[in-house]
Amino acid sequence: MNEAIEPGRAAGPAPEWAGEEPLIFELGGDLARGPREVEAGVPLRPLAELLPGVALRIDPPSVPAIPEPVLARHLGRLARRNHNLHQGIYPLGSCTMKYNPVVNEELARLAGFADIHPYQDAGDVQGALQLMWELERLLCEITGMARISLQPAAGAHGEWTGLRMIQAYHAAHGDTHRTRVLIPNSAHGTNPASAALAGLEVVTIQSNPDGTVDVADVARHLDSRVAAIMMTNPNTLGVFEKDILEIARIAHQEGALLYYDGANLNALVGVARPGDMGFDVVHLNLHKTFSTPHGGGGPGSGPVGVAEALTAFLPLPTVERDGSRFLLDHDRPQSIGKVRSYYGNFGMLVRAYAYIRAYGSSISAVAENAVLNARYLQSQLHGIFPMAVTSDSMHEFVATTRGSRVVGLRALDVAKRLLDYGVYAPTAYFPTTVPEALMFEPTETESKRSLDLLADVCAAIVAEAERDLDHVRSAPHETPVSRVDEVEAARRPVLRWRPPE
């Protein structure tokens, strides 16, 4: 029993808060019968006659059918065990946990969007195709790219799609020796993983003390074997790559292309465009910059944009307009092919489209407020945590517990203690180039009050650690479970429920 959680502490706590929530398999459902089902309404024939020679399951899968009232409470209790954006700040650096407008959820569920089939005739889905066509144009304006494929399902999927296009571009120019990709050591792990999946060799570039790419190191590695340089701008320390125009110049001079990881576009949206900086391929995370919800880990959406010279290689199909009619174009001989089924995570595209239309020409207010909020929070945390770099950061910044007033205070401990205050932890231990890193990204949807509260909580945790480090190191104390043993989880993997012996 977690004694900190008692009746009255949270509104109407269920007694199950006190202990463990049973698994669906333990709720006493029915293995033999499902809920009442419609009648087939046709003359029934024996399955053996309809499916001659087909091996049928002897018993249905051992998944119990749970009565709705029992299932509803199970879900309700589990829901209360999740931190979420309707409860408090979620300052995860690099993840852009901004508020997700409720109206967008309603709109994506309209039957005209949710109940349409990817193989319906184009004439029956003109609204969907128009939305995709318009969204592509909006995103092209915002990024400065010539065309955008809305298909990739997530950022990493967009990275791999973009790299496949870069490979196709070089191959089309008879340039088959370009098998390397330069990636800064501070990059997101997906960058090298996507490069490897595309069959490219990763060359790691060193960064300067402020996390920016070392131009000299880039120049040293640039040669006719380099297909692309992957960059995040602002980088993963939240610092704008001041030498970006020079890097673009030397890359292009050597025949390499420049790839933009759009994870941090929230710092720049509407203020500056990757296309203008010289990037040839750009992926976006609609679930970051354009506010589609994260869903506990997806579905996201990772559209990928290209400069004019690469449009022939876009994945199949593209959305085109012929007069007032919208259609899908599958006839693109130089395309890299299909990267997923159908046309993209359309439900996410509806939400992102609605979000962009709400801001329209004032979209730069997103970046301006995101940077203002981050810089303000950083100013309030000065003196509580040392900062990883002295350069101006933008929409996020990296602090560290190394060198704070309390010797032995780790990033992990601060992260866990924050949970006790109803605050989600910042991203800990990333980027890996900073020891004991805590990366804060408040986003533009936090109020000043909320930022002040977060700063006050951080101050309180450091003050507490000075008095009683053990209490901080054993946090959290107020969450539905205490610190979870991740070592046990990895050492003896139990990845599914099994019936008791």
């Binding site: 669906i24 398999f25 499902g34 419609v38 087939a40 046709v42 499916l51 001659p52 087909v54 049928l56 399951r57 249905p60 051992s62 998944v63 059918a65 879900l75 829901a79 999740n82 979420n84 954006l85 709109l107 039957a111 109940d115 003109q126 128009q130 399902a153 997530a154 990493a156 999927h157 791999w160 490897a196 999946l197 990763v202 720049l268 500056a272 465009r273 203008d276 994260h294 869903g295 506990g296 880990g297 997806g298 579905p299 092919g337 489209y353 329209g360 004032s362 407020n369 203002l372 810089r375 309030q380 933008m394 533009e444 000043k448 909320s450 959290p476 043993d485 991740e486 046990e488 990895a490």
Partner: protein
Amino acid sequence: MGSTQQAVCGPALGILWATMAYLPNGADERRQMLEAIGAASVEELFRAVPERLRHPVMDLPEPLAEQDLAGELERLAARNQPLGALDSFLGAGVYRRYIPAIVRAAIARPEFYTAYTPYQAEASQGTLQTIFEFQSMICELTGLDVANASLYDGATAAAEGVMMAVAQTGRHRVVAAADLHPETLAVIRTYGRGRGVEVVTTDDVSARVGAGDACAVVALPGFLGTVAEIAPVAQAARAVGAISICCADPIACALLTPPGDLGFDIAVGDGQPLGIPPSFGGPHLGFMAVRQELMRRMPGRLVGLTHDHDGRRAYALTLQAREQHIRREKATSNICTNHALTALAATVYMARMGGAGMRRVAEISVQRAHALAARLTALDGIELADPDHPYLWEFALRVPGDAGGFATAMRHQGIVAGLPLGRFDPDRHEQLLVCCTETTTPASLDRYVEAASRAGRPVTVTA
């Protein structure tokens, strides 16, 4: 943007902020914050950005009030014809199955849809436990040992399975059944191309798979709805040291002997039929289950059962040493964000229906499809294209003349008669893929037969 008003975007600092719905700070707060930072203006915060890059001219429409925004999107939605307003017999990988209301209610909860990937286990037990439940149910459904937390869709799940087989065997050729879903086959080819993986297709996978092959890939059921005898493929693959992969429909798994029991090493598929609406093709849900030996080669998130420091049962992301944020270019996959929320929808669907309920749904679909096929083939000039192959709830129907023309004539009567197959195989241009589910009502079947008896006459196929 179509008929909407255009406006040129310039520096809009401060002017419109107060009216933007999703920005909580007013002018006073912003002034106080700038003072605390020690900056004279917001523009100053962007000084690291070269001036020539700042504030590009963009052609973006005017901002919209929520009411106007809703109106705009509702107008676009109204330009689509939802399946529910038609008699639809479209399937082909995306199915209109009945979604119990509690599924929608669950995924509409902000506690689930606004949460992030559950890195901080103590504040994410809700998401973690539902993923553990999802993994467990997918194992029960497929008859395999370990399932992951989700992948993007069925096609990319199949491609990830192929990449696992390539890594496991060190071989670079894939033998795939010709009746895999064409989109799945196309995606496997795109994934393979970057890594020098060759994909060959055949009607007889077990005869073709050999010692140089990484894997054999088959479908349950095939794209045309038919069920082939696939157990020999798993045996043949094992005999030559190749991995066997079954691309399975999850509802079919509730009725048929599942891939694990048939001897397959990997089952992948699209979980869309489990409580997820068609949504024009996404977001859907990729799933993957494997034999124990392949656990550490799996792509993506895995949730494990463990304990908290007070000994209570708790859940956490685990075996992360496979993943991109730890292993970078040596990771088993590049996947990061997956499809947790649609996996939650599938979890709630499976829990509500139970294994028996899902089997019942499969049976109703089979009964209706076969009843419809019997009535249609009684009409002049209409017959099954593959009469010797057993099928579940989809069948290829040969109609008089071009299937596209037949479908158009049917559509004029409010019926989406199926998917004309000529686009995928020119030899099948006289064929339609017709699907029935528990949402295809008996009255709808009557209307199909009635309309087909008219549209089926060659003379009426003029549209």
